[in-house]
């Protein structure tokens, strides 16, 4: 897969990448190397300039879904439905809706899917240590608490995959380590595939994640940066 941004200055190539169900993947690299781009493509919210094959098998026995085909048809709703059921996404900056309470933010995907009010939200909030904030709006929360809410929202509807783009980048190292550990533990408990992008391998080395190999090269003229990811 190739993604070109602003002409040909930046190129992300993924010759092959296979992620199994339940795997925990780390994508490590400095900012600007294309981590976010790859995550967005994997989350189906960004269309690559060209794609050979992208198949997504949401469950063990399920037939694989051809994402390239949906892209070629520009079927945003198809991918939206796929995301709704199968994917949780934790953004760098939370991405919470300011007008919803913490409870409603966590419950957003569940409500969209018509899932029952079975205490999942409260349970998650307890595990994430934000139960006391459930009825507050996000603007009253600290950055770390907001990231916990974002993690809660990504997990609440039991997706197949949770994709997290530097979920702890805006936090201090101690809080970052704590929240990352909590996140991985919760995903493990729910048997959810996790793909995390981070610039700091140290933080997540001991959490047992598989690190994806990537290499960044520049052409001799310096006009093209190419990142190659395989795994």
């Amino acid at each position: 897969m190739t993604r070109m941004a602003e002409g040909i200055e930046f190129r992300l190539t993924v010759p092959s990448l296979q992620i199994s169900l339940g795997e925990k993947i780390a994508l490590i690299g400095h900012s600007g190397c294309g981590k976010s781009t790859l995550l967005d493509i994997l989350a189906m919210i960004l269309q690559p300039t060209s794609a050979g094959a992208f198949r997504f098998r949401p469950e063990k026995e399920a037939p694989p879904i051809d994402v390239v085909k949906a892209w070629s048809q520009n079927d945003l709703n198809f991918m939206g439905d796929l995301r709704k059921h199968r994917i949780g996404y934790v953004m760098q900056t939370g991405g919470l809706l300011p007008y919803l309470t913490v409870r409603d933010n966590i419950n957003l995907s569940r409500q969209l899917l018509g899932m029952p009010d079975d205490g999942t939200v409260e349970e998650l909030a307890k595990n994430l240590d934000i139960a006391r904030h459930l009825n507050k709006h996000p603007d009253l929360l600290s950055t770390g608490e907001r990231q916990r809410v974002a993690i809660g929202r990504a997990l609440a509807h039991h997706p197949s995959i949770v994709i997290a783009d530097e979920p702890t980048a805006s936090l201090d190292p101690i809080a970052a380590r704590k929240i990352m550990a909590l996140f991985i533990a919760l995903a493990e408990e729910l048997n959810i595939t996790v793909i995390i992008a981070s610039h700091d391998w140290k933080h997540i080395k001991q959490l047992g994640l598989r690190r994806l190999a990537h290499r960044t090269t520049q052409n001799s003229a310096g006009t093209v940066t190419e990142t190659k990811v395989t795994g």
Binding site: R83, G95, L97, H137
Partner: protein, 400 residues
């Protein structure tokens, strides 16, 4: 669908300060537009219309006297531009002395022939029929001190066979016209009574009233004049030209009509000029506001897209909010308008009659304003929403 409704409403009321600003901004532009239109509708609409409708502007008067028979009257009556036509007798033979019990004065009154569809009467005045009913002009009724339903005594005198003769006729006042209809002492009477009057004054007998005299005319009667009114002032010129072409010289109030028409055209032009500028400004301000609002919410819409809301939901979100802004803004503008309308009309109520206030809108106008506002709002928001829905979800997410 229910989800996006709930989210849009939650956001709208959570951001109540911002939402209020949008509503206020909308009302601030819409209310003056409504007031402007109400003034145009009230002033130009009613007052100019009154001038246009003034029956005297629709009258065509023959110059001098002619010989018009019933065949001619029938042919004129059939023309589509003609609202009213009735024969006139010789004006010297169309006067009657009126007296009432309430007053000692004897009034010589001009007799004016009338019939159904009398253009000088307001709707509430009954048309006199037969030989014993009249409608008095206001000045005549005032001098005679009579009201509707009273009786007056009409008398005529002539010299016949070298003798002075006088006849009396009992007349019931069935109506009194407004001053504007006829300013002098006059009485509107059925054509039969005016013909009887002329016959008597000419020395002939009127058997229907028991008046003696020479034998009635054998040949067909012809009249020296007529009262003719066109349907609208626009028909006046054509009608007069038709008369002139057939050799009948006629006078109209063409100059007055011209002034009124020119005035109406100019006032209308001024109004539409202001209205078009105002409406354009209103549409742009509304559109720009709502478009900017969608832009402001791009990140939040991207988040909705990310969690799997569909394209239609993403469009509905700003559209619903615009719908609310439109309805609330319209409601606020209507309230402001009604308050202004009340005070304008109260200030000027002495100068206008109560049926024709200076400032007024019909319920239809409110509906049109609502439809226009909501339509423009929804269109602007839908365009903005469509733009937001079309972008890749990741584009909005990375902002800030």
């Amino acid at each position: 669908m229910r989800n996006i409704f709930k989210l849009a409403l939650t956001d709208y009321f959570y951001e109540w300060q911002m939402s209020s600003c949008f509503v206020l901004a909308l009302a601030a532009v819409l209310a003056p537009m409504m007031i402007l239109f109400a003034l145009k509708f009230g002033i130009i609409g009613s007052m100019v219309e009154q001038l246009i409708e003034d029956p005297r502007n629709r009258e065509i008067k023959p110059v001098g006297s002619g010989h018009y028979n019933s065949e001619w009257f029938n042919s004129v009556r059939e023309k589509p531009e003609v609202a009213f036509i009735i024969p006139r007798t010789r004006s010297l033979a169309a006067t009657m002395q009126l007296k009432s019990n309430a007053s000692t004065r004897i009034i010589p009154a001009e007799l004016i022939p009338t019939a159904e569809k009398e253009p000088l009467f307001y709707k509430d005045i009954s048309i006199p029929t037969g030989l014993h009913q009249i409608v008095l002009s206001e000045s005549a009724a005032h001098k005679l001190k009579v009201a509707v339903g009273d009786q007056v005594d009409g008398s005529l005198n002539r010299r016949h066979d070298n003798q002075k003769e006088r006849v009396h006729i009992k007349l019931t006042v069935v109506g009194i016209t407004h001053l504007a209809a006829f300013a002098r002492d006059g009485a509107f009477v059925p054509l039969d009574l005016i013909i009887a009057t002329e016959d008597f004054l000419d020395g002939r007998a009127v058997p229907a009233l028991g008046w003696q005299g020479d034998l009635p005319l054998e040949s067909e009667r012809s009249f020296p004049g007529f009262r003719l009114y066109a349907n609208t002032i626009d028909d006046v010129a054509a009608l007069r030209d038709g008369l002139v072409a057939s050799g009948i010289e006629a006078r109209t109030r063409a100059a007055d009509i011209d002034i009124v028409q020119t005035m109406e055209k100019r006032l209308n032009a001024v109004f539409w000029f202001v209205a078009v500028i105002g409406l354009t400004g209103f549409s742009f301000s509304l559109g720009a506001n709502l478009w900017a609002n969608v832009d402001r919410k791009k990140k939040e819409l991207s988040v909705l897209r990310l969690v799997g809301f569909r394209t239609s939901d993403i469009i509905w979100f700003p559209v619903l909010q615009a719908l609310l802004t439109g309805i609330l803004g319209w409601a606020l503008a209507s309230l402001i308008y009604l308050a202004v309308e009340t005070s304008i009309n109260r200030m000027l109520i002495t100068q206008v009659d109560e049926d024709n206030p200076v400032c007024r809108l019909l319920p239809l106008h409110f509906e049109v304003a609502l439809i226009f506002t909501v339509g423009a709002a929804v269109l602007a928001a839908a365009l903005g929403g469509y733009r937001a829905a079309k972008i890749q979800p990741s584009d909005g997410l990375r902002e800030i």
